[in-house]
Amino acid sequence: MSYLSLSERDRKEMLERIGVSSVDDLFCCIPEAIHLKKDLDLPGPLSEMELAAEIQAIAGRNAPAGILSFMGGGAYPHFIPSVVDYLSSRGEFVSPYTPYQPEVSQGTLQVIFEFQTLICQLTGLDIANASLYEGATAAAEAVLMAQRVTGKAKVLVAASLHPQYREVIRTYVRNLDLTVEEVPFTERGTVDAAALDKALDDGTAAVLFQSPNYFGVCEDVRSISTAAKTKGALSVAMVAEALSLALLEAPGKLGADIVAGEAQSFGIPLGFGGPYLGFMAARKEYLRQLPGRICGQTTDVEGQRGYVLTLSTREQHIRREKATSNICTNQALCALRATIYLAAMGREGLRRAARHNVAKTAYALEKLLAVRGVERRFSGPVFNEFVIQLPKPWLDVDKALRKKGIRGGIGLDKSGPGFERCVLVCITELHAGEDIDRLAAGLEEVLR
């Protein structure tokens, strides 16, 4: 095995220096009764050639990549410039640990500082952390943070929030003194303002919603935030499609107090769901309650600018059971990819990509709604995802479409009664006009 670097002679001399006769002697502190008496029942060892063949064979049991897919729903296919893969796979970025020794970690630290700045610029807020696991856990952390900030124990969550984000929130609060209520959506596909007003009270810690929401519809961030504020609750805007921030007004500028979400769209491959990149930004008065790591600027003994991890008293080192969260690791390498992606795309490139998404979505809506029997499920404005309702159950349509090599979107049959015929369709810059034409023609045939 080429990963271990000791020769037989090394081993012998090292054992001599330690003063034992065999490696087994080093395990004498483990009671004999529990020593494993046989080899583990594992396959291998495989040489690199065999391993590559084995893993490629398993990968080959997936449907071949390249099927025409219109799936989004919290995991978005976007173009990734080559420079992202190239730079982010440098060993100097890939193989260090958390930057506990800042003098030899300035590369990682400066990247985190730049990442925090980019997230602040995109969200319109003052401070951001060094990343969280992903969008759903970021939503749960935002709920816990709102409770810490307000001292209140009820959280209102929009029913139009990604269903898996809502599930994760429920898991996180199951043992805590925190109740979560869902606020329904209207026929526009947006938060029901009247229901929100009714549910809001002085015991509400936060209103948590997503924009564009799970149905692709953009929420009225300003009016939800205003409503939350009248009762002293925080407005928490979740963003699952981070590219939308290039074009939509920054939620922080519209009154959101915390903006959190998923930045997978920024140069991170679909990867069957992970690793992804959670982010969180907030107003600066909530700094002490922000979970996760934070990088700060400082100076060295010569007065040179440098960066360090800071404000770690919020973390587990001190008052351990009172830490703001139990988060230890973050997603530094994914944050690096996002930082390189955003730098390479640049201000105008990113905005252009977002405009492509919008224009192609408009084109797709026009084409699909022209298919007989296809209707829009919600009337609200959309960025790059929307729900259509078909004249037949989605499960049947999906099967027929897939025979044509098209994955038409994500069926919403699990979103409750009345959604059996609904599908969430996502269009990005990767879809050419003729791909969209193919989807429309495919639907036309299937529904005929």
């Binding site: 502190c29 805590l176 408009a362």
Partner: protein, 485 residues
Amino acid sequence: MIREIREPLLFEISAEGKGCSYLAPLDVPESAETLSGVALRETIEGFPEVSETEVTRHFTRLSQKNYCVDMGIYPLGSCTMKYNPKINEKLSSLPAFTESHPQAPEEDIQGNLEVLKLTEKLLSEITGMDAFSLQPAAGAHGELAGMMLIRALLEDRGDPRKFVLIPDSAHGTNPSSAHICGYTVKEIKSNAAGMIDLGNLAEAMSDEVAALMVTNPNTLGVFESEILEATRIVHDKGGLVYMDGANMNALTGIVRPGDMGVDVLHLNLHKTFSTPHGGGGPGSGPVGVKKILEPYLPVPVVVEKEGRFAIDTDRPKSIGRMRSFFANYLVVVRALCYILSLGPRGMREIAETAVLNANYIRKSLEGLYHLKYDAPTLHECVFSDKRQKEHGVSNLDIAKRLIDTGVHPPTMSFPLIVHGALMIEPTETESRRDLDLFIEAMVKIAGEAEKDPEVLRSAPHITYVRRLDETGAARNPVLRWEKNP
């Protein structure tokens, strides 16, 4: 690179109108009709505009300011900074994996599901547990999941209980994980050998205690040799035993947590099964359980029926979902590659070599640095700065001076029970030459501490930045770049 070259921030090299072009021309009519009524922004204030050349040079220069395990020994105790095989990077980047949508239909993702199922099976064999969930995104996330599983089982029995016992040598995240599960933490003091004191444990254990959270080998690198007695004490009072498996590379192929009375544990795939740490993530922290806890595992669960793989979310007793989709999937692929490439003998050899390397360092530095606990250690050893303190030199000074010698310092903030700790974990992949380089550096520094302490206190001397003002950073937080601060 020359130390004097400073790399500006991305925002400082930006200039209006620069940028790259990556997208094909728009082939449908320009339209924003579908966004009508939405508040739009005119620009992204302060956002960078740079060329690809500048992007490449900026990040390449930044990369050169990092120390990394591909460069040399990185003996951060408990962090397990081992070499990560390059083939794992290549195989986890296969388009079949990277371009795979997590909501794709089951028949299109049979390969992905097979990776998950196979990895669960192999991890169960390595740890002696009955089932695994790969959902948790990191070690601390796995801890949280594990404690939730315990609580769910106890609630099901109508007896959720109040307390969790945690040894004072535990990892920092353990208490906060227990806390989020609604438990109050009681600390168990270690004995003179650095192990759980069975007397203290028996006294603290009652029918109000839900679980003992144990790290084995613990953060001193010491194997809890009375683990069978400890787990019996907990089980006798109806409690469960949680093990933090962060240090599993000391045990693979030697002994299995499942055979020690552990009911639930988490592993750090990125440590024991080698995924590069990426400057602080992503990791992956699967939880393994005994049969009694299996019904409570997070959803989704991958099930195998007649050679086909399916996703099961209909599990009434499940604690729910810990994360969206299927965990840090590409990390799981790397872990699988690692296990398959090692095989049963290799799994044992990594533990043997990790322990040999650590004991070699320990023996070589004994007498020069203070060893608070002299119990036998496995994969890591913990010295302190007690001797050097006599010359006014702290563990921080030692760490900073080590940087000048071209090696990464050990862990210093841990464990909390050793003041001025130097927690050294060489891992199994280090060569004799690299071990000796580290030892020589530590020997040299011990000498300097006596003869020339100032050279330590003013270290590091040759890095891009010198010693940084961490107190100032916390007192006056500057957390982002601003155009006109």
